[in-house]
């Protein structure tokens, strides 16, 4: 039976850097399993992870990891979690297997066990053949893998992954996501995946917490957040866009322009008769003297959830 107790709980947490409030009165629950921590750059994702590790103490509020209060038992908390930092990090002058075994020893494993685990974990992350190479000679993708290995060597119950696919080529990224998904879904390790790459989070996680400007914009399971309470349509039009968008928004719809010439229109509320949404959009287009060239129902994505959450925050 799956563990239903939350992995991480934040209760009215405020973190301040100098005069900058990086987290503002944040309350969030990260259930066990794979949880995505989403948000634009500067939203407070890394700050939240570093606070959970005890690097940055909050000025107010309570942080709880695996049922332990971070302020009271930071070492016990860190003994049970693994941390894969966003920036490159290694111990200078070591090859991969020595580095990972050393991290295992630092986390409390006996020397022989740490070495055995280091070999196993390096094979698991795909660095088995390169395990005797100095870490400083590794490529960006290999450095990401070794950061994951050092986070896993002591067999944590919870792993914090901060932008784990940064700088990886498409194949490497795919492999890394497979690994992370396997850890969360088959190995019984909970994880918090901090990323600004929505497809990565959507592929790995079942639950998300969206941060914006240091506050929680929304949180819940991805399915719930995508929700049945609205539909998304891809629309391409010819003519003046501004009056059309204004008219759609006036009718209670939400518009999101994409990088391409296709616009995404979110129609809230319960689904009416077949084709009703499309007819409404076309009517509004006609009233604003715009021609609809393309209109297609689209499945709501995490991108829609994210865009709505950020817009609402």
């Amino acid at each position: 039976m799956a563990d239903i107790s939350p992995a991480v709980v934040l209760d009215r947490v405020t973190v301040v850097y100098g005069t900058n409030r990086a987290l503002r009165d944040v309350s969030a629950v990260f259930p066990s399993g794979a949880v995505g921590l989403l948000g634009p750059n500067g939203a407070g994702k890394s700050t939240m992870l570093k606070s959970l590790l005890g690097f940055i103490p909050p000025v107010s509020g309570r942080l709880e990891v695996l049922g332990l209060n971070v302020a009271d038992k930071p070492l016990e908390v860190r003994a049970r979690i693994g941390y894969m930092p966003e920036t490159d990090g290694h111990i200078p002058g070591m090859n991969a297997v020595t580095f990972v075994a050393y991290c295992g020893q630092l986390a409390g494993l006996p020397k022989a066990d740490a070495m055995q685990r280091a070999h196993e974990v390096l094979f698991y992350v795909g660095l088995g053949e390169a395990r005797y190479r100095n870490v400083e000679t590794y490529s960006t993708g290999m450095k990401q893998r070794i950061k994951l290995a050092q986070a896993l060597v002591h067999d944590p119950d919870l792993v914090f992954l901060d932008e784990p696919t940064n700088g990886m080529d498409p194949k490497g990224r795919e492999e890394m996501l497979e690994l992370i998904r396997d850890i969360a879904h088959n190995k019984g390790i909970s994880l918090i995946l901090s990323s600004h790459l929505l497809p990565d989070v959507e592929y790995v996680c079942d639950h998300v917490v969206v941060l914006d400007k240091g506050a929680v914009a929304t949180q819940g399971t991805i399915d719930d957040l995508k929700g049945p309470s609205g539909r998304v349509y891809e629309v391409r039009v010819k003519g003046e866009l501004a009056p059309f968008i204004a008219a759609l928004e006036g009718a209670g719809m939400e518009c999101q322009e994409t990088d391409e010439d296709v616009m995404r229109v979110f129609v809230p509320g319960p689904l009416g008769a077949a084709g009703e949404d499309q007819r409404r959009i076309c009517t509004i287009a006609g009233q604003s003297h715009t021609q609809v060239r393309h209109l297609k129902a689209s499945l709501p994505t995490l991108e829609d959830v994210f865009a709505r959450a950020i817009g609402e925050a």
């Binding site: 016990e76 930092p85 200078p92 088995g128």
Partner: protein, 285 residues
């Protein structure tokens, strides 16, 4: 048929050490890494040459006895022999402090290793303690260890404990002096190492701190015509305090208490710097 060895991820079922032992791992690894360097081994062996010279001196001083009075007088062993020995070793302490200590934290900062270390179940104090122990171990091995061994050798060559009994204060004097030399050098170097990501820059800063303060003292003593300003020099402060510990007449006019307080202040400032700089995250205001 099962595979010979399962290479996928497995949960760990073995024992775990209780928290609070990471400093041992850090120190042990630091010492092993240093011993694997040939240049360091060369320096270390070189630092023991004065010990060999002194041991030979002791051998001849005791074995010649009264048969060659002039040589015996020239080679005679006194409490000053041990004071002079520690003075000689301070040169090696300087070079070893730079070689071992400059990169201890600076290299970790360059490689962003602090966030890796401090994400493990360890206190910042353990990290600092582990790094400090690397430096302290090697520095004591070229000060305290050879100095105590010389005392043992003296008794062994003489075949009696007469000298040691007559100068029993030498044991605590050697221990205390060695610890003062090593503590001041280690904390100062470690604090400087935490201030930069470049071990070379740290080496330059440490050298500068030692030589600049000595040069400043030289200039001030010329201006004021007195050695009362010796407290500005790190080296002079140590010489003054150690002279008193060895019951010698202090070589500078400055009160020894002031010298001791300057050294203490240096250690306190170093600890404060380490407390601020050794963090899992660097906050840039």
């Amino acid at each position: 048929m099962s595979p010979i060895h399962d290479q996928s991820y497995r949960r760990y079922q073995g024992d775990r050490r209780p928290v609070g032992h990471a400093w041992r791992v850090i120190a042990g690894d630091g010492i092993r890494q240093m011993l694997a360097k040939r240049v360091f081994l060369g320096l270390f062996i070189f630092a023991w040459i004065p010990f060999i010279v002194r041991a030979v001196q002791m051998y001849f001083a005791t074995s010649l006895g009264g048969s060659v009075p002039q040589a015996s007088a020239f080679l005679s062993i006194s409490p000053n022999t041990f004071r002079d020995f520690l003075d000689q070793q301070s040169v090696f302490v300087f070079f070893m402090t730079i070689y071992i200590g400059a990169g201890l934290i600076a290299n970790d900062r360059r490689a962003n290793a602090l966030q890796i270390y401090l994400s493990k179940p360890m206190l910042r104090m353990e990290y600092i303690g582990g790094k400090l122990l690397v430096l302290v171990s090697f520095l004591l091995s070229v000060t305290l260890v050879p100095a105590l061994l010389l005392l043992v050798l003296q008794a062994a060559f003489a075949g009696n404990l007469t000298f040691l009994r007559a100068n029993l204060f030498l044991i605590p004097a050697v221990v205390l002096s060695s610890f003062i030399i090593v503590t001041v050098a280690s904390f100062t170097m470690l604090a400087l190492s935490s201030l930069s990501k470049s071990s070379r820059f740290v080496a330059v800063m440490y050298t500068g701190a030692i030589f600049f303060t000595s040069a400043l003292y030289g200039a001030l003593s010329l201006i004021f015509g007195s050695t009362r300003v010796a407290w500005v020099s790190i080296g002079a402060n140590m010489e003054q305090v150690i002279d008193v510990i060895f019951r010698k007449t202090p070589r500078y006019e400055v009160p020894t208490v002031i010298c001791a307080m300057v050294l203490l202040a240096l250690v306190v400032v170093s600890i404060s710097v380490l407390e601020r700089r050794v963090r899992g995250v660097e906050v840039v205001s």
